[in-house]
């Protein structure tokens, strides 16, 4: 009886550990959890459009660690009748790929300045296209978002 009393605690602990392990192993057939990829809007958090005092429109993203946006897949279009100037992009980082050679990417954050009419008032709408990937081996299709600002 005393022996049984001594044994029940480690037995329960062992059973718990096995159950927990089994539950985790049941996640995939390899018993290995795949990377938890983020939904695109969490991987690349597009911030509200900012209409600055000097007339510039600012589009920015917070980019999650180990994710990146391609420089040459960025597109900015103002909805008519508004027109924007050539986007001012910050310095990018080189990224080597065996199929596409050296491409340019952004990590951590991206802030783009869009020259716009200094004295304009009212509402402006901008369409933004961007595309990015995760280092762990996943790419999101090009994303199109409509942003607007007023002043």
């Amino acid at each position: 009886m005393k022996f049984a009393k001594k044994l029940w605690i480690p037995a329960c602990a062992g059973m718990t550990a096995m159950l927990a392990l089994g539950a985790f192993a049941a996640d995939t057939p390899f018993g290995k959890k795949p990377p938890d990829f983020l939904p695109v809007d969490q991987a690349f958090e597009l911030q509200p459009l900012v209409w600055k005092a000097d007339g510039t429109l600012e589009v920015s993203w917070r980019i999650t660690k180990e994710y990146y946006l391609y420089r040459d897949r960025l597109k900015f279009t103002a909805v008519a009748p508004a027109t924007i100037g050539k986007p001012v992009l910050p310095a990018s980082l080189p990224y080597e790929d065996e199929h596409f050679g050296t491409t340019q990417v952004y990590r951590d954050k991206l802030v783009v300045q869009l020259p716009f009419a200094k004295d304009a008032r009212g509402e402006v709408k901008v369409t933004v296209v961007y595309q990015g990937c995760a280092d762990a081996g996943l790419c999101y299709p090009p994303q199109t978002r409509a942003l607007e600002a007023t002043r």
């Binding site: 605690i9 329960c12 602990a13 059973m15 718990t16 550990a17 096995m18 159950l19 927990a20 089994g22 539950a23 985790f24 049941a26 996640d27 995939t28 057939p29 390899f30 290995k32 795949p34 990377p35 990829f37 939904p39 695109v40 790929d97 065996e98 199929h99 596409f100 595309q131 990937c133 995760a134 762990a136 081996g137 996943l138 790419c139 999101y140 299709p141």
Partner: protein
């Protein structure tokens, strides 16, 4: 008194563990059961010919959704080509499904020596991924379907050689026990 308190804490911890473990097991089983049968989706190949998934019933079917602008997809394809070559005779059939235009897909298929059927499309491919249980809308996305039509796995992101081997070992019959053909296009 101290012993009793300790025992009580241990009982609580153990109960919580058992509860959590059981919940995870139940959740995993429920997910597998919910996956159930694959829908009999229709895709078009590079020649515009229609194919239904039921065409490959009786084989272990690996659907690989990809795009020509997706570097991890292009990195993964040579492994899939090798896998089709090695395991076709054991009953494996890989089908590549590209969300892209025909011309770049044709070019990459030749460059990468793809030895399995390729389907193409646009919005209908995104809908198919959704129907097969994709939650990210990103590439590559692979779905493994058992010979009886049950969806047995879904994988977002590129597969490594080790992961592919583990899947083949788990789901294919031992060598020499299946009368299948090697490659098909």
């Amino acid at each position: 008194m101290r012993r009793e308190t300790l025992a009580l804490i241990l009982v609580c911890v153990v109960s919580a563990g058992v509860g959590y473990g059981s919940y995870r097991l139940w959740q995993a089983r429920a997910a597998t059961e919910a996956a159930a049968m694959r829908p009999d989706l229709e895709f078009r190949d590079l020649a515009g010919q229609a194919h239904r998934l039921s065409e490959w019933d009786g084989k272990l079917l690996l659907l690989n959704f990809w795009a020509t602008w997706c570097p991890p997809c292009l990195k993964e394809i040579p492994l899939l080509v090798e896998t089709q070559q090695q395991h076709g005779a054991r009953g494996l059939q890989i089908v590549g499904i590209a969300m892209d235009e025909a011309e770049p897909v044709r070019r990459f298929a030749e460059r990468l020596h793809i030895n399995y059927p390729i389907m193409i499309g646009q919005a209908e491919i995104a809908r198919a991924m959704d129907e097969l249980g994709d939650q990210l809308g990103a590439f590559p996305f692979s779905v493994l379907i058992a010979p009886d039509g049950r969806i047995v796995d879904r994988i977002s992101g590129d597969l490594s050689r080790e992961e592919i081997k583990a899947l083949m070992d788990q789901y294919l019959p031992p060598e020499g026990t299946h009368n299948g053909s090697g490659n098909s296009r």
